[in-house]
Symmetry: D2
Subunit: 389 residues, 4 copies
């Protein structure tokens, strides 16, 4: 194939654009994972991740996708047949519930409309009704990547506290970690699940768990079979900077670099940048007179925006034209949203002009495909970004 001129625009909600510094770091020669240089690296990245998760407790790193980190959270804390309260916030909430079921857990899935987050009242009601405390865990997706809807984790925690229920709180932050404010310890989360390929600005390949003291205690009595995901082996090796099996050294190089970049900027700065880019995107969608999938303004995601196309039009045709003509990848509508929405990723290592190029490309795509819209969405974003430094 001949070279396609210019940079590809990767504006899916993850994997995100990996900065040059990180890509170069990942391509340093692999070293001995049992030697002293590795130990220094291992300790550094494990420590740095604690700051990212907002925890002083343990973080573990798997060579895996985020799906693996979902599995790890469950098999280390639960036993066959344990009840888990989960939420159909969208495609990924449903997938996590499905995975839990396949591992032998008894999943209670709260239905959802894919346009709003978890209702804390529902959490409280369900848990209050569970007088026997048969529910062992509540599992929530912080930022539902399929819909662009966030759930209010502190409010979920408050709801659990009100119900005086001892279930563990597990939170998937795969598409929010390092992008949207998140505080594992302060918010009382027991297991937080993360991955490398979104806000951490890395290629895919790392699955993460942050683990509270309570989750650590739950580990003691959990009987789901586990070996690869077993936290204990990590706890034995990690303090020295090592891992129980061959770690993905080159991704850890990248993680080390990405941590330097994120913590060098400061997480507050990082979160503010994501909020500003998300608002600019929504200004564009509003100017186009298109509908946001998320119906609750307080729950708008700062890392991605899912946009509805009018009935009778095909979001996938739009995406296809944009990929073909403008070399930009946008996120598809998943499962029941297929063809009805497209998703704009605006997270990770993103600058204003790349966002404006992104929105310009969407506007051009809307024009080419004849999807009804008002012109000027990109222009609205220009004004917003100019006026809000």
């Amino acid at each position: 194939m001949p070279h396609r001129s210019g940079r590809h625009f990767l504006q899916i909600p993850g994997p995100t654009n990996v900065p040059d510094r990180v890509l170069k770091a990942t391509s340093y020669p692999t070293i001995d994972h049992r030697g002293p240089s590795f130990a220094t690296l291992g300790r550094k990245v494990l420590d740095g991740l604690k700051t990212i998760f907002g925890t002083e407790h343990d973080v573990v790193i798997y060579p895996s996708s985020g799906t693996g980190a979902w599995e790890a959270a469950l098999v280390n804390t639960l036993s066959p047949g344990d009840r888990v309260l989960m939420f159909e916030t969208g495609h990924f909430g449903s997938l996590w519930a499905d995975l839990a079921g396949r591992l032998g857990l008894d999943v209670e899935l709260v239905p959802g409309d894919w346009r709003s987050g978890v209702h804390p009242d529902t959490v409280e009601a369900r848990l209050s009704a569970d007088e026997q405390h048969t529910i062992k865990a509540v599992a929530v997706v912080h930022n539902e990547t399929s819909t662009g809807v966030t759930s209010n984790i502190p409010a979920v925690r408050v709801a659990m506290n009100r119900a005086e229920h001892p279930a563990l709180l597990m939170v998937d932050t795969i598409s929010s970690l390092g992008s949207i404010d998140y505080r594992h310890d302060e918010w009382g989360v027991d297991v937080t699940v993360g991955g490398s390929q979104k806000g951490l600005m890395l290629p895919p390949g790392l699955g993460l768990n942050a683990i509270s003291e309570k989750a650590k205690r739950a580990y003691e009595s959990a009987t789901l079979p586990k070996a690869y995901w077993d936290w204990l082996a990590m706890w034995e090796s990690n303090p020295a900077g090592f891992f129980p099996y061959t770690p993905p050294t080159n991704l850890l190089y990248g993680l080390s670099e990405a941590l330097d970049m994120l913590l060098g900027q400061g997480l507050e700065t990082v979160f503010a940048r994501h909020a500003r880019h998300a608002e600019a995107t929504r200004q564009a969608v509003q100017a186009w007179d298109l509908e946001l999938l998320c119906q609750v303004p307080e729950e708008y995601s700062n890392t991605l925006t899912a946009v509805c196309v009018p009935d009778g039009h095909d979001a996938d045709a739009l995406r296809s034209v944009i990929l073909d003509r403008f070399d930009m990848s946008l996120g598809a509508g998943l499962s029941k949203l297929a063809g009805r929405v497209f998703r704009i990723g605006h997270l990770g290592d993103l600058g204003d002009l790349t966002l404006l190029g992104t929105l310009s490309g969407i506007e051009a795509g809307l024009r080419i495909t004849g999807i009804p819209h008002r012109e000027g969405g990109a222009g609205a974003a220009i004004r917003y970004l100019a006026d809000n430094p």
Copy 2:
């Protein structure tokens, strides 16, 4: 830390030296794992791996270490309590058995001396004695990375056939795949386990399974819980070049490049190179008058050589001096071999002069630490390589 001049010599038995071409490939920008360019990549690497494994059947790729691929082999084919015949060929044979036990399998571990491979007669005897066919799988490490001993897989297959036993044959090729002749289909193996960081010349982060038709049938009735490792989801996505969850795109770039390199050279050439380097290494060890850990010449590994240090001397002190003075990493003796052997990795992307530098560094280390030896091991390897093009 100030820069350490010159290249680090990574001569552990994996991870191996990743060629520049592969490292550069892994640092191309990550792309959309649901787009058409990715599909082309996915199909290419899955097809290429079939050639590497010597199979026309399915290969699956996990974002994982080799340990994950061990687990995948078991959970996809077996059910809780199933008996598995395993072999204490060394540290890794023991670890695989331990992992199987933790997953709920009933492991029958044949003890070993860590200096020789699996005895086909033992296999035949054990299986013949199992008249009820309660043993569901025989699991063998092809090339035991902790000892430098290979087991004769075709002979194991013949033994199983003689016993007329229906157990699955599972083989770990983590440190032999792409380095020592291996033929999944021809040898009648049901699940072959591999990883990225040895003969495939990649950074760690990929776990591999090659799967026979018989293993595929075993999947139907296997009831060990599984989600992340589930073959079915792979079989549904892979034919189109996709994966059921976010794949490790950048490692797949590297795999594509590595496949081009290995298949461009031709596997016969690759195997011959490893055999020649292994023999040169053994010539050096012999000239030093040191003892090989492997006691069976037919079972000498062509990817690594474990060398015994005389009683009263510490192999780890030698390794430490060599790392400190010559910036070379050698493999340690593992568990019960700790301090008694050091392991020389001579696999992957290796040239004659790097091997000679390696052996020279060991000779210098022996001199410095005062470990009794004859001089001239490196010289013997020079002669061998000069005389055997």
Copy 3:
């Protein structure tokens, strides 16, 4: 300094954005410049450049900037005191003339308004008046990088032919080569001067000369002192793929890759892409109601656009705000244009969305600095690019 999120937009008229493929190629290990692998590389890049220049005759490559290639063109063909007809098309036309003077040539500089190209009538008139043929060379800048004005080289050639004058025709294509149609042989040019860092999509560091048979004959009698720039040493070494002194090997790796990319796309495609991006840019400028520096539509450059800011406003303040707020570099007005124009580079490895991000950033900058303009320039470019695939 903390990391600045997202990609820098390098939209000066060169150096241009170097594609990842080229950057990676430049970072392969340096090889022996006297060995057989180098010879293959050397022959390949020299051959490929001939296609780029549109010549079947010699091309030479210097480790130098474009300035060095200017000097080489003169010292290899001329003698002290030779008269050269040159043109004040802008800053670079003037600099070339200045350089010629410093080398001991007698420069006749035709004044210009920095807003239009070379007038063929002037060329014809000057040469016709030179009945003694004391003018030895006519030197023209094809695409004046300081103004965004191209000169019509075939028309200059016709003018020289009409005057029946034997002067050499020298053309600077530093910012047009590989971007705007150019034909060294067909247009009867004697020495063409180029560089690496514009349309060839390379980092700076290579200076180029394409040389006609007539220029080669002129070399025989030229007496300006020369050593580093001496063509003869190149002619002696180049046919075998070598160079008379240590060549810039890593840039030649990049050149090899860039040639594959340009010739793989086809030069016609490359030229059409530049024309389309240039027109989109001019549509934006027109929509903003700003003035183009170039006053002759037939002479609009397809690689850069110089835009005038209204009197009383400072183009450098605009550029500074855009750099600070949007991390984009634009070209400054040079010498007498300082502060009065800014220059947009739209050449090299450029895609539609990066161009739209560029124009969006300028529109945002105009808004922030309060420079009088109509909104909607970026929108006009969106429409143009959408409607003109």
Copy 4:
């Protein structure tokens, strides 16, 4: 071509092995050479080079080879017909003299035997005889790359002082800078010439001049024509971190990284490492019973060793076998030494084991080609390096 396994051994006396850190630095995106980030880079590398040269005065950097830096030294300080005293220390001493002649200088070339350095007595005698002070410069190669012979620069300076002669002292340090102790100011050198591709561990492409106050005064009256090489334009731009024409930005990135590495180690450490590697190499040559080209032990080069092959044998055939069989590049004998010597580069970013691999490869090559030698050269180097930390 199929991939050649393992690393190429580039053991010519330059270009040298470029460390990964430097190669990666050179592949960062090119930036605006007129912007503030560039200014910071420019000032840093100019400052750092002063430390490398041992000067507090000006250093200039050209996009060029070392040959360009030779030319620059001459054209900025001398006038047509000026007499220059030069020395036939070897191929490069002769080439520099040839270049000077072609620029219009009157070269007095002191003949040499290519096996020893400049004799200070000769310098003193020639200068003393020049009572009219018609000799304007004495030009010496510090480390003759074609022979592995160094000249004693402080002794040359003393000789000039004794003769009370005002000639400028120019020194070529292309293959010694950053590897062998050198002090521009302390030793009273007027123009030092350097390049990027040897001790500075960079790809080729930078030519360097360090300039004394006396040379700066000589500039005032020098009338050789100059433009590209003109120091004045550098002096005008450099203090702000800029350059008079497009600088080779990506090599400057690499230079910045290389300076951090060299100065981070400390020049004393760097020089000691080169001395140790050179001595190990000579121990090997002695053990082989081969003859060093350099006949004066005090003049042995610490960056390369030229080794004579016995009469009737062909050094180029040896080099060819070594390249073909062991993928190692060694330096050829140049001009009158062609076929009679091979040159081992042991400078730049070199570790002990790469040197030992190098010497092992030579020993293997001697064995294959049947060149008479004693075995054990590599072994001698092992012992030397082991015993001399």
